[in-house]
C-alpha cells in the first residue's frame, strides 16, 4: 500500500521560498499569480494492507518526524 504525505507551512507562517518563487514567476512574465506557498511531498510504501491502519500509522509518523507541527500542517493520502 502506498501513502502520500503533503507537508505545507501553516497559514500565517511566512514562506520566503514561496515569495521568491512568486517573484521569479513575475520576472518571467507569468501574470496573475497572487500567492505561492512551497511544501513537500513524501511518498511511502507500506506493508500494511488495511487502509485505516495505514492512515493511522502514517499520521503517527507525521506527528513524530515527517512534519514539525509548530509551523507545518500535513495531510495523508492512502493510494
Amino acid at each position: 500500500m502506498k501513502a502520500r504525505v503533503h507537508v505545507t507551512l501553516k497559514n500565517g507562517i511566512l514562506d520566503p521560498q514561496g515569495a521568491a518563487v512568486k517573484h521569479s514567476l513575475g520576472a518571467l512574465g507569468f501574470e496573475g499569480v497572487d500567492r505561492v506557498r512551497q511544501g513537500k511531498i513524501i511518498e511511502l510504501e507500506l506493508s500494511e494492507t488495511d487502509t485505516a491502519k495505514a492512515e493511522e500509522q502514517v499520521k503517527n509518523m507525521c506527528e513524530n518526524l515527517l512534519a514539525n507541527t509548530v509551523i507545518e500542517d500535513y495531510s495523508v493520502e492512502i493510494l
Binding site: 507562517i13 511566512l14 520566503p16 521560498q17 521568491a20 513524530n64 518526524l65 515527517l66 514539525n68 509548530v70 509551523i71
Partner: protein
C-alpha cells in the same frame, strides 16, 4: 567539568567545542566525544554540547533526523533531570526539533546563507552560560547558517521575554529572527540554544577570544570534583 560533545554525521566544530570546554576547565582531553548511535551518555556528565554543522545533510528539516537519533533520547532524559545542555547553530536546531527548546528555526528571511562575524548583545547574566558577562555586553561571534530565522508564537515569546530567557540578541539581525533573537534558554535556564559560534572565536589564531567568556561562565558554574 565533565563535558560530552555529541557527533552526528555532518557535525562540525565538535572538536572546537570540546577544546573550549577543556580549556575553560583547565583539563586537557577531558571532554568526551559521543557518537549519535550510542544510546547512553557517559556517566557523571555535567554538560552536553550539541555542535554545529549540517547533521544528516539537513534532510527533511535542519536537525530533525539528529533530534530522533538514539543518543538524543538520553540527552532529553539528562536535560529533563536538570542537566546542562548547550546547542550551537545546528545544535540549536536539534534542540528545538527535540522539544527541549520552544519555537523553530526557519530559512533566513533573505534566503541567503549568512557567513560572517557579527555582534551580539548579552541580554541576561542569569544563566550558567552568561554569568561572566554584564547585561548589554557586546561580543563578536561568527555565524554560518541558512536556517537561523528564529520564530515562535506570541505565547512563547511572551514567556521568553517575561522570564528573562533571551540570552543573546543580534545587534544587526542577519536572518530575520523575531525580536532579533540569537539565543534562548529553557524554562529551567539550563539549556541554551544559539545560532552564533562562540567555539569558533576562542583563540587568537581564530581572530578573537570573545567566545572564552561563554566557556568560562560554564566552567565557573559547573565546577566538578
Amino acid at each position: 567539568m565533565r563535558a560530552a560533545v555529541i557527533q552526528f554525521p555532518g557535525s562540525n566544530c565538535d572538536r572546537d567545542m570540546a577544546v573550549g570546554f577543556d580549556r575553560a576547565s583547565g583539563d586537557n582531553n577531558r571532554a568526551q566525544l559521543v557518537w549519535h548511535k550510542e544510546s547512553n551518555l557517559p556517566k557523571d556528565i555535567d554538560i552536553v554540547g550539541i555542535p554545529g554543522g549540517f547533521s544528516f545533510g539537513d534532510y527533511l528539516r535542519c536537525g530533525a533526523i539528529a533530534a530522533r537519533s538514539p543518543i538524543m533520547r538520553s540527552v532529553i532524559e539528562f536535560a529533563k533531570k536538570g542537566g546542562y545542555v548547550i546547542g550551537i547553530c545546528n545544535g540549536f536546531q536539534v534542540l528545538t526539533e527535540s522539544g527541549l527548546l520552544p519555537g523553530v528555526l526557519m530559512r533566513n528571511s533573505n534566503l541567503k546563507f549568512v557567513c560572517k562575524d557579527i555582534e551580539l548583545k548579552v541580554k541576561t547574566t542569569k544563566s550558567a552560560f552568561t554569568n561572566a558577562h554584564k547585561i548589554g555586553d557586546v561580543v563578536t561571534y561568527p555565524v554560518a547558517h541558512h536556517d537561523g530565522n528564529y520564530t515562535a508564537d506570541t505565547e512563547i515569546l511572551k514567556a521568553l521575554h517575561g522570564d528573562d530567557r533571551i540570552a543573546y540578541t543580534y545587534v544587526n539581525n542577519p536572518n530575520g529572527s523575531v525580536d532579533d533573537i540569537a539565543g534562548i534558554l529553557s524554562d529551567n535556564r539550563r539549556v541554551l540554544g544559539m545560532m552564533p559560534h562562540p567555539e569558533r572565536m576562542n583563540d587568537p589564531a581564530l581572530g578573537g577570544v570573545d567566545g572564552n567568556k561563554l566557556f568560562e561562565s560554564i566552567a565557573s558554574a559547573l565546577v566538578s570534583a
